[in-house]
Symmetry: none
DNA sequence: AATGAATGAGGGTTCATTCAT
DNA sequence: TATGAATGAACCCTCATTCAT
């Protein structure tokens, strides 16, 4: 008779939100962001066409939420103690964990690479992304400088490119890519 | 009616086809495949909305044609049927040329990275791609072995990932990426 | 359980109903009927989205309720069951009061003009409206006849049209319309 | 075999444009702008849902086109020789013709009054409308000043209100409204 | 009586594609 | 071959309305 309590509603909302995010991630990564319609997501989630809009303002916002979640997961492992300084151990930890994540969350990283190559979509995440990379780069530059590099900025760019390249190739063909051995190699080279 | 006319017609047809392909490549890479309409392509090419359908069955076929052409061009460029052995100088030359090509043909490579992240498209060239990369990898493995590497296969994978990663990041934001410095760094590291 | 509770309940119900009507009138007149959503009304009234449907069957019924209430109020205000004769002073008083009402109740009159232009809505109160205007016209005709007009019916129609036109223009852009000066002018002309 | 000539296309386009305008005017005036969907218009016109968008950029633009056409029709009769000065004869002509137009083009004027009372829709035509009324008012003010009025601005406002009021009442119930007699009365009063 | 999560029809708009010319 | 008017499915999104609680 009485309405649901706020707690009940919050549980329902959280579950639905998660459901929508999961389904959207799966479809976006399988078919690409543009080629996936909101209706498809709703259908695959077993909910009505309109419901996703109770949880996300727009398709764009849904994408951005997904993106932030994924990126934050990866960033958690970077500079573990968040003191702005990277030790060799923290670096090793980061590299190890990022690639664990890559394996555990292939869908997201597939989407990640897909987004970057769609100009109109990339614009949506550009700002978000720059914030992340700027913070990260500053710390990495310092890391390479301390290790005695004369060109820490370039080393940072190269390191990032390598991480991206490995991720990319793994994502394209996970079965054929010798990820573990490659990761070991990277750790040896950089830590 | 006369044979010459037919030949001329074929030339004209070939020119139109090329025109459409070029314009499409430019727009697809600039705005993304989904965000580019067939009408836009026609308009930019100065032809009618219906004409592209005389040359390509659908938008998707146009895209695939572009992809195949681009991949073939790239493979021809890296013609490996020489002597199968890479010297340090040849390696340097290779790295230099890859990135020259990247800069000269940004449009294609942008599209290329986009298509790689779309499973259904990648499947279409998977086999050819494997043949190509296998040939290339064989030569690189030999190169690293000669340089004294104990894990030449892994070094090859890492090298390829790095090349891909650099290309990827450059393509995403060409203005911000210090390509020349990075290339120098790679050459120093690998040659 | 006790009778008092029921009475109190009725009072509460009546208050809620009135609240919804007031909020709806305000929003409908501010933003237009179509552009106002039921959710907005509920939110502005501080109640849940579903509650208005306990009081009104549909958005349209809510609109019609508003319209009928407003028209009845206006008709009561212009209660003509007095002596049926208008003096110049009474005329002046009437004109003054009409425009006072217009200013005091802009929301309603805006909506009123809107509804008049929607055939299906106007049909709902056509009959009552005719009764009302006929009564009023009779008195005005007598007024103009006494003032010596040879076409008192036409004068009445023109007078009514003028009153309507002024109201209309004032409602459309209240800030720009010089209502007071116009009213003075009308009084001078007609009293 | 060969494509239609430009002339043929222009004829087709002009006919379709007119068709869409006519159907839209009819439906907008019958049901109101907001309550009429583009699909309805297309269906009533016997064309596909998408075609109106080849002729008008949006529903708004369609409305504006309609509005401009209607207003321009009326303005043609105002200040016949377009010299910025109104004679008594021109005034008479204007009044007569405007009301002829009102009768001939009831749909438009119904829409006209409907638009004014929908805030979000009125915004679309506000600018357009101000341009018209400003020009007209300037000329009318001069007209009343010449006739010896001490308050030509107010007279102009009152005149406009009267014209609007008459139009409004006629539009609401054309059968009952004694338009001809009223027009005579107005002419006598103002010319 | 009251809540708000959920539905799904329908809105404006776009665009790949067709086809009469 | 070439044109562009026309189609209609599909897209993103809104919102009146329902109903379990």
């Amino acid at each position: 008779m009485s309405p649901r309590t706020e707690i009940q509603n919050n549980i329902i909302k959280e579950e639905k939100r998660t459901l929508i995010l999961n389904v959207a991630l799966e479809l976006f990564s399988q078919k690409g962001y543009s080629a996936t319609s909101m209706s498809e997501i709703a259908k695959a989630a077993g909910i009505s066409k309109g419901l996703p809009y109770s949880y996300f303002e727009s398709k764009e916002e849904l994408l951005l939420s997904l993106f932030k979640i994924g990126i934050n997961q990866a960033m958690e492992f970077f500079d573990l103690d968040k003191n702005g300084i990277l030790t060799a151990d923290e670096m090793k930890h980061y590299i190890t964990e990022v690639f664990k994540l890559l394996q555990a969350n292939r869908s997201f990283w597939k989407l990640y690479f897909n987004l970057f190559t769609q100009p109109n979509v990339y614009d949506l995440i550009k700002t978000e992304m720059h914030d992340f990379t700027n913070d990260m780069s500053a710390i990495l530059i310092e890391y390479f400088r301390k290790k005695g590099s004369l060109t820490p900025e370039i080393d940072t760019v190269v390191f990032n490119a390598l991480m991206d390249g490995i991720s990319f190739q793994y994502i394209i063909e996970p079965e054929l890519f010798p990820l573990d051995a490659v990761v070991d190699n990277v750790i040896k080279q950089y830590c």
